[in-house]
């Protein structure tokens, strides 16, 4: 296949589509420019290549085109990357672990198996239910993995850190105070909403959030495999150490 020179109007259109993908709140409703470009991306292979290449140059990767629009994943070193550390200043090590753990738990709760990652259904996350889910997983783990007495003092595991944090510390106003896991889950859900990875689902009650296709694709095609890789390395060093 010989490649003809790139049409400059295509370059402009590709840039426009990526711009829509980066804009929070841009929705490809019927008849909008965004929708037309998205349809073109879905059907016109050449345009798709142009957009993909353009995005690559910006440090982005197109993960998919669900109905809500173009889903982009940033290169971790690129200008569009989001880091956990950017979202909250002055996090200590334990806080970072708890927040990160909650994010993994959200994914595990919503998409426990491979098939769930391909399922376009939107999952709901409830703050209290998620805390129950994490604590349930921790007690399940303890039931199998009784503390190793021979080893003397056992290193504090991620499960210990989470379990040691109280579930709820109420404020005088009946809200959740900093330092409890329910508040931490609330904060993480707030981040997800800010990042367009979730929406508040007030229609179905307070504390209820609805995950978006963006989060599903990011977990499926980017975060999951990378985290698994780090996990494998960590376990390997643990075994050899």
């Amino acid at each position: 296949m010989t490649l003809a020179a790139l049409d400059l109007t295509d370059a402009s259109a590709a840039g426009q589509l990526i711009g829509f993908g980066l804009t929070r709140g841009a929705r490809p409703v019927e008849g909008s420019d965004y929708r037309n470009l998205l349809d073109r991306y879905r059907t016109d292979l050449r345009f798709k290549d142009t957009v993909d290449t353009f995005a690559e140059g910006l440090g982005l990767e197109v993960l998919g085109t669900p109905r809500t629009g173009l889903v982009l994943a940033p290169e971790p070193t690129g200008p569009f990357a989001t880091r956990l550390a950017d979202l909250k200043t002055a996090m200590d090590a334990e806080e970072k672990l708890v927040f990160g753990l909650i994010l993994v738990a959200v994914a595990a709760y919503a998409y426990p198996n491979e098939v769930d990652l391909d399922d376009p259904d939107t999952k709901l996350v409830d703050v209290v239910k998620l805390d129950d889910f994490i604590r349930g997983a921790i007690s399940g783990l303890r039931a199998i993995d009784a503390p190793d007495v021979s080893n003397g003092e056992r290193a504090r595991t991620a499960a210990d850190v989470y379990a040691d944090m109280p579930s709820l510390i109420p404020t005088p106003h009946g809200r959740r105070k900093q330092g409890c896991t329910l508040r931490a889950i609330e904060i993480v859900c707030g981040w997800l909403v800010d990042q367009g990875a979730a929406r508040e689902a007030k229609t179905l009650g307070p504390d209820t959030f609805q995950l978006t296709d963006r989060f599903r694709l990011l977990v499926a095609d980017s975060a999951g495999s990378e985290a698994l890789e780090v996990l494998r390395t960590a376990r390997r060093t643990e075994v050899t150490a």
Binding site: L45, R67, V104, R156
Partner: protein, 522 residues
């Protein structure tokens, strides 16, 4: 069961007829489809929703109806619309404003039940024991959803599954295309036999069936244009699309014929009853035809999408293997990991799952604002705002009543004739007629005491609002001095101040006007 038949020995005929056995699976499925709704009714009892008050089964049916009916058209039913509609129905079941907060709860409960929220919105799963083979019993799992939530460009919408469509069509597990064709035949016969009442019923069912079929195909079409990976592209999808196109085209032609038939009948001399029934049939048929036309348009368009998608599928390989099970392979192992390596894993996950963030250039104004602003304490909950209540000043409970003010003023006016000791003023205040101040003698005493203190040492820091208002106004014409006499009074102790009025005109005169217009707080 089969062994029982063989070994029963009594020569009894088998209890289960072969015909019943052959249809067992179909009937079992029809039975199981309604089970999630029974479950949600049972769970509702735990949530304090009384099944006798709110007909939850009917609400669930209404939710399915709404979802199925809107899938045939351009936009699916928004979650919010469905919850609102159910709340309206709930309101009719238990009317009265005092029940209003419950209506939405009930609607939420029904929707969550249909989404299987109790089990992380997984599929409903049931096990069927297949007994057709006498030698062995096989267990099959039948999993299905009723409603599911999808994120769309319009917001979250509710999608009805094929099983929900079955439920919508009287719970029968039938081939929907066959059902449509069969209903058309029945309708034709009823029209020929001039059984118009029956024909109206059949036409209604035919319209519902069209809606159901449209809903099923809409989902397939949506999946077609959205994601190639989730469907069997080689056989299943093209097959179904082809069949659907043929079927829909056939139905449109048939509907035209039936419509013409009914309308021709109307031209002759007919009774009003027949005219009404025919009118209804025409309406229903027109609606069904519109659904079919709409569907046909989309099916024709889907062919192109399908072809390009096929090409794309051949060219674009899936980039990575998707992680197997996040729960088992990632989440659980992380929990067991020591804190430090676990942090590294979750941080990697977090950095990649949070998506893009568009860098914004820091603007000078923002930075200056940031520096000026006091440190933000985000985690402290906002204080509950007190309801200020009515603005009517006479009703302000924080304010001294008018009668108390007037009486205190009269007491303080005594100083105009001669300087008085605080103890004397307090006695005078304590001696006022309780009926004049509505029993609030203590308030008069307090006001007099505060005024004297204010006259001695005005609180100019201004941050204590309790002192402001009436007190400083009353005290503004007064001066108080401490000449060393000790105060020995049951109400106060300290120095027995000598209170004098600055000018004979104060404090009553013009201050009275100022007081009445400027009601301060205690």
């Amino acid at each position: 069961m089969a062994e029982n038949e063989d070994g029963g020995g009594a020569g009894l005929p088998p209890l289960v007829s072969p015909a019943a056995d052959a249809t067992a699976r179909g009937r079992w499925r029809a039975l199981v489809l309604t089970d999630p709704i029974h479950k949600l009714v049972r769970n509702a009892a735990h949530a304090g929703v009384d099944d006798d008050v709110y007909d939850l089964r009917q609400l669930a049916m209404a939710a399915v109806d709404l979802a199925v009916a809107s899938m045939g058209f351009a936009r699916e039913a928004l979650l919010e619309e469905v919850v609102d509609a159910l709340a309206v129905l709930a309101a009719r079941m238990q009317s009265g404003e005092e029940h209003a907060p419950r209506w939405r709860d009930v609607a939420q409960l029904v929707i969550k039940g249909l989404l299987n929220d109790a089990h992380e919105q997984r599929r409903f799963s049931y096990t069927f024991a297949d007994l057709t083979d006498p030698g062995a019993t096989r267990f099959d799992t039948y999993s299905f959803r009723l409603l599911s939530l999808r994120d769309t460009e319009y917001g979250p919408v509710l999608i009805a599954s094929d099983q929900a469509v079955m439920l919508f069509l009287d719970g029968l597990d039938v081939d929907i295309e066959d059902a449509e064709a069969a209903l058309a035949h029945v309708l034709q016969r009823q029209l020929d036999d001039e059984r118009f009442d029956a024909a109206v019923r059949t036409a209604t069912m035919a319209e519902r069936t069209s809606l159901g079929m449209s809903a099923m195909l809409t989902d397939l079409l949506d999946a077609t244009s959205r994601d190639v990976r989730s469907h069997d592209w080689l056989v299943d999808v093209p097959d179904r699309l082809g069949r659907a196109r043929k079927h829909v085209a056939g139905r449109i032609a048939e509907e035209d014929k039936t419509l013409e038939h009914v309308q021709n009948g109307l031209d002759g001399d007919v009774s009003p009853a027949v005219r009404v029934a025919s009118g209804q049939i025409v309406d229903l048929l027109r609606r069904a035809k519109r659904i079919h036309l709409d569907l046909h348009d989309r099916l024709v368009g889907a062919r192109d999408v399908f072809l390009t998608a096929q090409v794309r599928q051949r060219l674009a390989r899936r980039r990575r293997l998707r992680l197997l099970a996040i729960g088992e392979e990632l989440f659980t192992p992380i929990l067991a990991l020591p804190a430090e390596p676990a942090t590294a894993v979750v941080e990697t996950f977090a950095d990649r799952s949070l998506g893009v963030r568009v860098p914004r250039l820091a603007r000078f104004d923002d930075i200056v604002d940031l520096l000026w602003a006091p440190p933000r304490q985000r985690e402290v909950a906002e204080p509950d705002v007190e309801d200020p209540g009515d603005e009517d000043p006479t009703e302000d409970i924080q304010r001294y009543p008018e009668a108390v003010l007037r009486t205190a003023r009269d007491v303080l006016a005594l100083t105009r004739t001669a300087p008085l000791r605080l103890s004397a003023l307090l006695d005078a205040a304590a001696a006022v007629d309780p009926s004049v101040v509505d029993g609030a003698v203590d308030d008069v005493v307090e006001l007099v005491l505060l005024s004297a203190l204010w006259a001695f040492a005005p609180d100019i820091s201004g941050d204590d609002e309790e002192q402001a208002g009436e007190v400083d106004l009353l005290a503004s014409g007064l001066a108080a001095g401490d000449d060393g006499t000790a105060l020995n009074h049951p109400l106060a102790s300290g120095a027995d101040l000598l209170v004098t009025a600055d000018s004979p005109a104060s404090p009553a005169g013009e201050l009275a006007a100022a007081l009445s217009s400027e009601g301060g707080r205690r």
